[in-house]
């Protein structure tokens, strides 16, 4: 596959692209999440 015979090598070639894709998808899904924590933290702090 991709001109490479060893599955350990073409496998990791694909895995690298998939892991970067995972980061992209995670970033898009959570793009606006987590910001609400900031306001919550300020309230919590006022502990």
């Amino acid at each position: 596959m991709l001109g490479i015979d060893d599955p350990w090598i073409w496998g990791v070639y694909v895995l690298c692209i998939l892991s970067a894709l995972l980061c992209v998808i995670y970033g898009i899904i959570n793009w606006n999440r987590g910001g609400e924590l900031e306001a919550l933290e300020i309230k919590e702090e006022a502990w």
Binding site: G3, D5, Y26, G27, E38, E41
Partner: protein, 528 residues
């Protein structure tokens, strides 16, 4: 090559870098600004700064050259760089680090650990490990930059090293972490553009993805007999499992650096510079793509340089580079790329080196000022920042001195040594600090000392690549290594030191006194 044009381009770049350093200095009012950039960093700046600090000339020149020697098996390191170094680092470690760092008002990695375990020893011992261990890593980054300046700008290596160091010292000392992160983001952007072009031009040169890979697969018979005897099976195959070549690739290069990134002090501190988890979520997207374009490209191009050199000069990369893997990428760029790209790549490498060096010097300076001086003397404020600035200058001097005396072929190895040391010394304690309330002060100290000592012992007496040149084992016992039976001389310390340090941390925590309940409530406020 038009040296005048290249020098003008570099001068403009350096002036812009100094301007961003000046902007950092202008907006830094206190130690929080100097050490954690005021905790309000933009997600793009944070993610690019993390990535640009992570990726240096070590990754591009050192490990890219190593890929020219080892082949595409190094892509396992790229996978770990993305999945562990970005995804797990941001999602599993980063969010809790940010919150706990905020809860404890920690401004450095050792301070976070010291305050979490309510131990000054943890803080200053970590600071000492960083200050003593990081110069090796800092100097190999300097060497990578200076080597390329030497081959491209045709200037003396020593002069290149000196010019480069003075410029970095100037903006790190005055600009603090804010200046470092502003310049990192700009440098990371240049790196992204440069590496994207490098990948496209290389594949275009060799007839596309599949035919380039096929050509490399067809070169297996060209593997030097000496390397084949050690387990090298070609540049598109993994080495023979269990061979010395396999152990070096898997344990030192892939695991040492791939896991060690989680406990790198200059990267962990980035998590404490943002105000909420939203910035970290966005950083995952930017960081994942950035790292793929950095190490993914460097390793693929490094391996494919063999095809280019064989087609044009009838020889493989390591022979063209006269046996020095650190020279493979610079020689390939100068031979295979159009002149305008050499200029761009020169800038890419300079940016990669400067963004990493600046963070290394900042981490070393803060280790001296904040973690050692402030902890031991109990003095805070302006004096501590002054000591941090002096610490940065001392770190620069040590790195430059080492840059003059370290041998060839040291870039990738020097990086792996520091990453491995950080993993063994800090990762067990850091993981337990974030996730286990039952971890005790004694457990943390025992694990940290175990990881540090086992790593140092292994390098001095077991791991042949370091033990033989150091000569301590030879002097004491009359032989290069204590255990000559394979595979031990090629097993990296991280394989032994990291699990052992984890075991000791957990075991010692189970049998020693727990930390005060209220202290733990303080640490874990807002964390489930």
């Amino acid at each position: 090559m038009n040296l005048l044009l290249l020098n003008i381009i570099i001068l403009i770049y350096l002036l812009f870098t100094l301007y961003l350093g000046y902007r950092g200095w202008k907006s830094t009012k206190d130690s929080e600004g100097y050490l954690v950039a005021g905790r309000k960093t933009h997600p793009y700046i944070m993610a690019m700064s993390y990535g640009a600090t992570f990726i240096s000339t070590s990754a591009i020149v050192g490990f890219g050259g190593t890929a020219g020697l080892f082949g595409m098996g190094l892509l396992w390191l790229t996978f770990l760089n993305i999945f562990v170094g970005i995804f797990l680092a941001f999602v599993v470690y980063g969010k809790r680090t940010r919150k706990m760092g905020h809860n404890l008002n920690a401004m450095t990695f050792p301070e976070l650990l010291g305050k979490r375990f309510d131990s000054k020893f943890v803080q200053y011992f970590s600071g000492i490990v960083i200050f003593l261990g990081m110069p090796l890593y800092a100097s190999v980054v300097l060497i990578g930059a200076a080597r390329f300046m030497e081959t491209t700008l045709a200037i003396d290596f020593d002069v290149a090293l000196l010019i480069y160091s003075v410029i970095i010292a100037a903006y790190v000392v005055w600009g603090g972490l804010r200046g470092v992160m502003y310049t990192d983001a700009m440098q990371g952007t240049i790196m992204f553009v440069g590496m994207a072009f490098l990948l496209l031009v290389t594949y275009a040169h060799l007839g596309g993805i599949t035919s380039a890979h096929q050509a490399l697969t067809g070169m297996t018979h060209l593997v030097p007999a000496k390397l084949a005897a050690q387990g090298h099976m070609g540049w598109t195959s993994m080495p023979i499992m269990g061979s010395s070549w396999w152990w070096t690739l898997v344990s030192t290069i892939v695991m040492g650096v791939g896991i060690g990134v989680l406990a790198m002090p200059q990267l962990v501190v980035r998590f404490m510079t943002v105000k909420s988890n939203r910035e970290l979520n966005r950083g995952v997207l930017i960081g994942g793509v950035f790292i793929l374009m950095m190490t993914g490209v460097a390793f693929v191009v490094g391996a494919l340089s063999n095809v280019y050199f064989y087609q044009t000069q009838g020889n493989i990369s390591i022979n063209i580079a006269k046996g020095n893997a650190d020279s493979i990428i610079p020689v390939y760029i100068n031979a295979a790329m159009p002149e305008w790209f050499v200029y761009l790549f020169m800038l890419t490498l300079l940016a990669a080196a400067m963004s990493t060096s600046s963070s290394q010097f900042h981490a070393q300076g803060s280790a001296i000022g904040r973690d050692i001086y402030e902890t031991l003397t109990q003095k805070k404020g302006g004096g501590s920042i002054l000591i941090t600035r002096i610490g940065i200058l001392v770190a620069v001097l040590i790195a430059v001195t080492l840059g003059y005396i370290l041998p060839e072929n040291i870039i990738a190895r020097g990086t792996a040594i520091f990453f491995g040391l950080c993993a063994a010394a800090f990762l067990p304690m850091y993981t337990c600090a974030l996730y286990w309330r039952g971890a005790t002060r004694f457990g943390a100290i025992a694990g940290m000392i175990t990881g540090t000592l086992v790593t140092v012992f292994w390098y001095m007496f077991i791991h042949k690549a370091e033990a033989a040149p150091l000569g301590i084992c030879k002097m004491l016992f009359g032989r290069d290594v204590l255990i000559a039976q394979m595979p031990w001389p090629v097993v990296d310390p991280i394989v032994v030191a990291l699990p052992l340090a984890f075991l000791v941390t957990v075991a010692a925590s189970l049998v020693t006194k727990k930390l005060n309940y209220r202290h733990l409530e303080d640490c874990f406020r807002g964390l489930r």
